[in-house]
């Protein structure tokens, strides 16, 4: 059986999303995403990274 690898192009990237959760912009640089997000009204977009099950921080 061939194992299928799913490549997530947004993995580890900072994402700018709108209220409908659509990704508007993605970058490795959080500052780039902040600057892009500042082009939109404050409560219309948000910044995050994808949290996949199993994510652990500290």
């Amino acid at each position: 059986m061939v194992e299928k690898k799913i490549v997530d192009k947004y993995k580890d990237k900072w994402l700018l999303r709108n209220k409908k959760n659509k990704i508007l912009y993605a970058s490795d640089s959080v500052v780039d995403v902040v600057e892009e997000g500042r082009k939109y009204p404050l409560n219309e977009v948000f910044i995050e990274k994808k949290l996949i099950p199993g994510t652990c921080f500290f």
């Binding site: 580890d12 959080v30 997000g37 994510t55």
Partner: protein, 134 residues
């Protein structure tokens, strides 16, 4: 002010809270979805974001220990940190931050939020409550 946050919509088991930062020239970041993290000593942000905020960073004497090993970290004071969104907000002025180069997420740590609020996480219903500690 008591807050109830429902994080079920984020399709994730980790408690997420909206936050943003304001620079000393009054320019705001967009809203970040941050992780409410009792394992983080303080508010932890990426180093380049701290620099964008104009925070004067001092290297920590010892590396910060994370789940994936130790990392070089810096401390500084962010001018304004805002917890919440849409009118239900708490403002923290001159808040201590930890900045790290490969910071995976914005982490809302023990200082200042866990010190100011009694936090109850209902993981089954994916919501949490912040009640001010009097």
């Amino acid at each position: 002010m008591k807050f109830v946050f429902n994080y079920d919509k984020y399709n994730c088991r980790i408690p997420i809270i909206p936050v943003r930062f304001i620079r000393s020239d009054n320019e705001s970041t967009p809203i970040f979805h941050a992780v409410l993290d009792s394992g983080a000593d303080t508010l932890t942000i990426p180093k380049d974001l701290a620099e964008w905020l104009g925070v004067k960073l001092q290297p920590k004497a010892t590396p910060t220990v994370t789940a994936s090993g130790s990392a070089k970290a810096y401390t500084g004071i962010a001018p304004l940190f805002i917890l919440g969104q849409g009118g239900r907000e708490v403002k923290y002025q001159d808040v201590e931050i930890c900045a790290m180069e490969n910071c995976p997420y914005i982490l809302v740590g023990v200082s200042p939020v866990f010190e100011d609020y009694l936090i109850t996480i209902n993981a089954r219903e994916r919501k949490f409550t912040l009640e001010p500690i009097k």
